[in-house]
């Protein structure tokens, strides 16, 4: 087991390096001189030259990359073009909000989807199953930025019971309704896709257990239904939890649209603003951090899962 953990950790290093390389090269994808993208458009020639030297942009690309990597590892992501503040501070301030949003969304999605999936899996093939499967398809088919707008129309515009966007303040206070009410619509919106995915996973895991020969035999012999269900849930839980973990990573990087609609001050909103203002240092830094979180989440899920079930070990 220990050897496996070490091997997975080592295998993650080239991936993390590759991810950082792509993030670094993003600057070069931008049209024009990379320096231009690091500076406001009205910067004078002297500033451009100074920055070129400062960032070593006159040297070969691999050297530049390694120096950039060194700075990034020590926490220096450069400064925002829009407001001149260090990128790392901007990310630190917004990341917590996105973690909060993603965590709550995954938990909400799990509670709904696990129940739905279990019902469908037990009654595979019935109309109930079809309804749940339909809901699951709807969940993964709905564009969540549209759902966000629809929810705002219903709850903020028509019913006027929830705020349409923003927050109650910089620091989130979990005891205050004032703060919580701003979270409700974003969390519901963001949980739609995971609901669809988790419900599907649960359904197939449960129905697989229900169709196992020994379960069929036990049921035929009069084993109480709740015992059968307990067994099925115990078997279905590991894959479902794994999917849940992966969804957390996906939401961390995928909440940009929903955060934009709700003006939720998370890393996605930060990214969206950076795109509008062409603030490349912020864009680059945020994407790097979110992608690294995704890599780490996937790795963690893989390791936890392989601890629980050694059969699924990879490579």
């Amino acid at each position: 087991m220990f050897g496996y953990v070490i091997r997975r950790l080592i295998a993650a290093i080239p991936i993390a390096l590759g991810v950082s390389m792509i993030c670094y090269l993003l600057v070069y994808l931008a049209p024009g001189d990379p320096v231009q993208t690091l500076l406001p458009p009205d910067a004078d020639a002297e500033t451009v030259d100074r920055l070129k030297r400062l960032y070593g942009l006159d040297r070969p690309l691999p050297v530049q990359y390694i120096e950039w990597l060194g700075r990034v590892v020590s926490g220096d992501f450069g400064r925002s073009i829009a407001n001149g503040r260090p990128v790392i501070e901007e990310i630190q301030r917004s990341l917590g909000n996105t973690v909060l949003l993603a965590t709550l969304s995954v938990l909400v999605a799990f509670s709904i989807a696990f129940v739905l999936g279990t019902i469908a899996g037990r009654k595979a093939g019935t109309w109930l199953d079809r309804v749940v499967t339909g809901v699951a398809v709807l969940g993964v088919s709905v564009p969540n930025y549209w759902l966000a707008i629809v929810l705002i129309i219903i709850f903020s515009v028509e019913l006027m019971i929830l705020p349409s966007s923003g927050t109650a303040g910089e620091r989130f206070d979990p005891t205050s309704w004032e703060h919580i009410q701003y979270l409700i619509l974003p969390v519901i919106t963001l949980s739609m896709i995971p609901v669809g995915i988790i419900a599907r996973t649960t359904r197939s895991a449960i129905s697989e257990v229900m169709n196992q020969d020994f379960v069929v035999t036990l049921r035929a012999n009069g084993l109480p239904e709740w015992r059968v269900l307990k067994h099925a849930i115990k078997n279905a839980l590991p894959p479902v939890l794994a999917v849940m973990g992966l969804q957390f990573g996906t939401l961390m990087g995928g909440s940009i649209l929903v955060e934009t609609v709700f003006a939720w001050p998370g890393s996605g909103y930060l990214l969206s603003k950076a795109i509008l203002t062409r603030d490349v240092p912020v864009l680059q830094g945020t994407i790097l951090v979110l992608a690294m979180i995704f890599v780490v989440t996937n790795l963690a899920v893989d390791l936890i899962q392989s601890t629980l079930d050694p059969r699924i070990r990879r490579g």
Partner: protein, 300 residues
């Protein structure tokens, strides 16, 4: 003919009673004919695509024609603007029809290109194995390490937006998963006996791959690609929604949705319409893809 051979093999009754020769695609078609859900949504999808293709013929008005006096009118306005008008007074129905062309293209084209590139790379990796496989798949792993939304936003954001850049970004997003599916399918197929038998004839590799590998990996790849179209349409609209895809005043469902956000207090029904178009398309695509998957599953 040698008598010794033929007398060992008098055809028995069971041989003659076998079902008619339907073939693989015949069986798939036969199954689909009885899958009403897939048929219905397939027809719906076809209708949407046809409407998009024929948009210039079907659209009652010029989708770019603005008017200050008929901004944000509700559906049925003047009995001619059946779906109402948008924030600049343009006819919604015309814009939705024309928008379908752009949105569907933005969604489908990247998947097609990614299928060609990713599929070929995957087949190559799967069939060649060894170092070739390693080098292709490790690069894919790196792209795989990004959530798809983030990667699309990162690439098109860095490239500065626009419909073409958006499509390039989406293509890059879909190459790795398609490559992985193709690689897995090819690795499975290449170890089957009939591929060994074909190799044992001394036939050149490219013929073995073309006749014995491609046909058997195409199914899984195409099914997977079809399931990506719905994701692609949502992502493409999402990029336009963020201002990274199609630029105004072109009608694109995602872009329209974003532009109409300011109108939710005045005309919520119209504001929701582009999203409904995306939703219906993406549901249809998902269900058709599921139906195809079930019909093409030879085991059942």
């Amino acid at each position: 003919m040698s008598t010794a051979v033929s007398d060992t093999a008098a055809p028995d009754a069971a041989e003659l009673a076998l079902p008619t020769q339907r073939g693989y695609w015949g069986t798939v078609g036969y199954r689909l004919r009885y899958d009403h859900v897939t048929l219905f949504f397939g027809a719906l999808l076809l209708l949407i695509i046809l409407a998009a293709v024929a948009a210039p013929l079907l659209a009652p008005f010029d989708p770019y024609q603005e008017s200050i006096i008929r901004r944000l009118k509700p559906p049925g306005y003047q009995d001619r603007y059946w779906l109402g008008t948008d924030e600049l007074g343009r006819d919604m129905l015309s814009r939705l029809l024309h928008g379908g062309r752009i949105t569907l293209t933005m969604g489908i084209l990247p998947v097609i290109i990614a299928t060609l590139i990713g599929g070929s790379l995957g087949v190559l990796a799967g069939f060649a194995g060894g170092v070739v496989n390693m080098s292709i798949m490790r690069v894919m792993d790196v792209f795989y390490a990004f959530p798809s939304v983030l990667l699309a936003v990162a690439i098109s954001g860095a490239m500065g937006g626009g419909a073409v850049n958006g499509m390039i970004a989406l293509t890059l997003v879909f190459i790795p998963p398609l490559c992985r599916v193709a690689e897995t399918a090819t690795t499975q197929v290449r170890n089957l006996d009939f591929v060994d038998a074909a190799r044992a004839t001394g036939a050149p590799m490219h013929l073995v791959v073309r006749h014995h590998v491609i046909g058997n990996v195409l199914g899984p790849i195409l099914i997977y690609a079809s399931s990506l179209v719905s994701v692609a349409i949502i992502l493409a609209s999402g990029l336009s929604f963020l201002g990274l895809g199609v630029k105004p005043p072109d009608p694109d469902w995602g872009l329209m949705l974003n532009a109409l956000r300011q109108a939710i207090y005045v005309s919520p029904l119209v504001a929701a319409m582009p999203g409904i178009a995306i939703l219906i398309t993406s549901i249809s695509m998902n269900l058709v893809s599921d139906g195809l998957r079930a019909a093409m599953d030879v085991r059942s």
